[in-house]
């Protein structure tokens, strides 16, 4: 589904990603872990198409398309979803209207008729239950005045509404209390299916208590320095990142 080959990327002239390789197949759950500043969020931004990030080498294919050639909105319409680490606030724009616009843009892209209000509301009701989100939140402006947990739940709700092929969760667990973490993780698990893949980016192992990854990769200094299964995450939790990063030659 997603194939990343030797990606290098710069931010403001500084190289952050120094050759990433990653293959994700439908139905798989991958976790990327790593210490702060290792390039985790940069990878998420590059995949979503944030313009400040300059890809200097490498290629990415997504569902057999050249991902890097697509605009951010086309990537989204193709089925790539990024749950933001810091979802922005947009004053005055109601969350419901926003999601409706997003859903219908995607339908249009795929040659489908826009949803009428009745069917849209019906789908919305179903998905709201899934992520235990309250109606009142959705009539408010996007993320405006939301608590950290509410913002993250709103992200997962949007993911549910947009039914992406690949969901990238950028530090979705950061700043969540244990209840919110459980709700968010449940939401993700319920959406997971053999057709969909999930890429979880996280600093800590605790989200992985709820979401079972098939593969765990350790990102350090712009490269994946180790890959393994769920046990790798537990090992990291126990020993810290040092045990991996020691002995990695930074200049190699």
């Amino acid at each position: 589904m997603l194939s990343i080959k030797n990606i290098h990327a710069n931010v403001e002239g500084k190289e952050i990603l120094k050759g990433i390789n990653l293959e994700i197949k439908a139905g798989e759950v991958h976790a990327i872990m790593g210490p702060n500043g290792s390039g985790k969020s940069t990878l998420a931004s590059v995949l979503a198409g944030r313009e400040q990030y300059e890809v200097t080498a490498g290629e990415v294919s997504f569902l057999d398309k050249d991902l890097l050639e697509l605009s951010p909105e086309d990537r989204a319409r193709e089925g790539l979803f990024l749950a933001f680490q810091y979802p922005v606030e947009i004053p005055g724009v109601s969350t419901t209207n926003f999601i409706k616009a997003a859903v219908n843009e995607k339908r249009k892209y795929h040659g489908l008729e826009p949803l009428d209000s009745v069917s849209f509301l019906k789908i919305m009701k179903e998905k709201m239950k899934l992520v235990e989100i309250d109606q009142s939140l959705l009539s408010r402006s996007i993320n405006e005045g939301f608590s950290g947990g509410e913002k993250k739940r709103n992200e997962i709700f949007q993911m549910a509404m947009l039914e992406p092929k690949l969901a990238i969760l950028d530090e979705t667990d950061s700043g969540l209390d244990i209840d919110a973490l459980r709700i968010v993780a449940n939401g993700i698990n319920k959406l997971h299916s053999p057709e969909r893949a999930v890429l979880v980016i996280t600093h800590y192992q605790r989200l992985l208590d709820y979401i079972q990854p098939d593969y765990v990769h350790v990102l350090y200094n712009g490269r994946i320095v180790k890959s393994g299964t769920k046990e790798l995450a537990l090992e990291l939790e126990e020993k810290g990142y040092d045990f991996i990063t020691e002995g990695v030659d930074l200049n190699a």
Partner: protein
């Protein structure tokens, strides 16, 4: 700076959709302004002697005045002798009903979304349409007359209700008020007149649609609304003009009078031709709008959505004379390309326990300059005066400017005045967030801009809110419900 069009620039570049010219036989007089021209206008309109005298007096004042230069706008010197002061579509015969209006004119207004023909009329909205210098038609006149509401062109009012016009004309905006008001008083050609008798709640929206058609013609309309005790009226105005390379002058005066417990709600969607992308052409919109809350517990509310005109110079104001009177000003001013807008309000607190509220939202794009200029004055007698002002600017692009000039003058110790202002831009983060959800940049900008302007848009009557939103969001292609 890169000249490459970013998503923001692309999103805000649109075309003016009302720029066509109606090919119609027009009665115009020669360019230029002097006493004879004023006599001619007055004669063509078959005006009584007092009206002509009033005009000539205003003209004499105007000659002595100098054009103001304090506004934050730049434009070449206007040659007042190079303007046609009277242009009217030639009537084929005396009209007995609206259905006899020239079909060419009817289709013009159909194109503008204003239906005049009896069967297609907007329900619940009475419309007066003014093209160039004259009112062409007014709908629902008879129905309104039954409850005592007078809604007609000001020319007609001068003929039929001279006592009302004479009493109120110039009572809120004196002919000496400012340069453009004096000019208007001398040469105004048409406009609307509304009179709501005591205790009547006007059952429908009253609306005037202004259209400039003739080349080189200036439009100088005059609107007068009088709301007697305990009456209510909601009035809407809209305006468009053809696209021309030359600038055209529009200098209107609007006067509102609210007596005891009366309420006037005045909404404007201003979409005069703004000029092209290089700043060529467009309307110079120099307008004096002022209302007086004459009676106690009266209320005047201005709502404006300003998207057109090359230059806007306009400060709808309220004189809060009656005790417990209320003034409101809600404004969205959107400027693009080379447009310049200097707009805002004045709230003059004179009576006791008067209240005013100002919400002004400026959106600047392209090379435009957008200024808010406002005055809140609490006079010595204005015990317990309250004002709250909020003015926010949103910048789209790095070649435009946003400016805020609020004046606050307080002479009463029990007055409380609060003003807040912010300036920000559409964040790249906000834009990217929308795009990541599959919304293209154009629609994303429209969404964000609408969100920014929402507080004001909510003040518009339903029929106008939709039109205004369309104007603002330009081409959202119906993607957002």
């Amino acid at each position: 700076m890169k000249e490459k069009q970013g998503p923001l620039e692309q999103a805000v570049s649109n075309d003016y959709k009302y720029g066509f010219v109606t090919d119609i036989d027009t009665d115009t007089i020669a360019k230029g302004l002097n006493e004879d021209v004023i006599r001619l206008i007055s004669h063509k309109k078959n005006e009584p002697e007092w009206m002509l005298e009033w005009r000539l007096k205003a003209y004499a004042y105007w000659l002595k005045m100098v054009e103001p230069d304090w506004a934050n706008v730049k434009y070449p010197i206007i040659d007042y002798q190079d303007i046609i002061y009277y242009a009217a579509p030639k009537p084929k015969k005396q009209l007995n009903s609206l259905d006899e209006v020239d079909p060419e004119l009817l289709s013009t207004f159909e194109k503008l979304g204003i239906s005049l023909s009896e069967q297609k009329r907007l329900t619940g909205v009475a419309v007066d349409v003014v093209m160039d210098s004259v009112s062409i038609a007014t709908s629902f006149k008879e129905q309104l007359a039954e409850i005592g509401v007078i809604f007609c062109s000001i020319s007609e009012a001068i003929q039929l209700h001279p006592e009302l016009v004479r009493k109120h004309l110039g009572s809120v905006v004196p002919m000496t008020d400012n340069y453009f008001a004096a000019l208007n008083s001398a040469v105004f050609t048409d406009g609307s007149f509304c009179y709501i008798p005591k205790g009547v709640r006007c059952p429908m929206e009253l609306s005037t649609y202004f259209r400039i058609n003739t080349e080189n013609a200036g439009q100088f309309e005059r609107t007068l609304i009088v709301a007697e005790d305990e009456s209510y009226v909601s009035y809407l105005e809209g305006c468009t003009a053809p696209m021309r390379d030359e600038n055209q002058l529009h200098a209107a005066v609007v006067e509102l009078i609210a007596m005891e417990k009366a309420e006037i709600k005045y909404s404007t969607v201003q979409n005069w031709y703004p000029g092209d992308k290089e700043g060529k052409g467009g309307i110079y919109n120099f307008v004096t709008k002022r209302g007086i809350c004459k009676g106690d517990h009266s209320k005047i509310s201005w709502t404006q959505v300003e998207t057109g005109s090359a230059i806007t110079w306009k400060y709808p104001s309220v004189i809060l004379k009656g005790d417990y009177s209320i003034g409101e000003f809600y404004s969205v001013a959107f400027t693009n390309n080379h447009q310049q807008a200097d707009t805002g309000t004045k709230m003059m607190h004179l009576g006791k326990n008067t209240r005013s509220r100002i919400v002004a939202k400026g959106i600047s794009a392209g090379h435009s300059q957008n200024s808010y200029r406002g005055l809140v004055r609490a006079s010595k007698q204005a015990i317990n005066a309250r004002n709250y002002s909020q003015c926010d600017s949103l910048l789209l692009g790095d070649k435009c400017g946003a400016h805020t000039f609020p004046y606050i003058e307080v002479k009463n110790k029990t007055a409380i005045v609060e003003h807040e202002a912010t300036t920000s831009k559409i964040g790249e983060d906000q834009l990217f967030y929308c795009r990541q959800r599959g919304i293209d940049p154009e629609a994303a900008v429209a969404l964000i801009v609408n969100g920014f302007a929402k507080e004001v848009m909510n003040q518009l009557p339903m029929e106008f809110a939709i039109e205004a939103q369309k104007l603002l969001t330009i081409s959202m292609e119906g993607s957002v419900g």
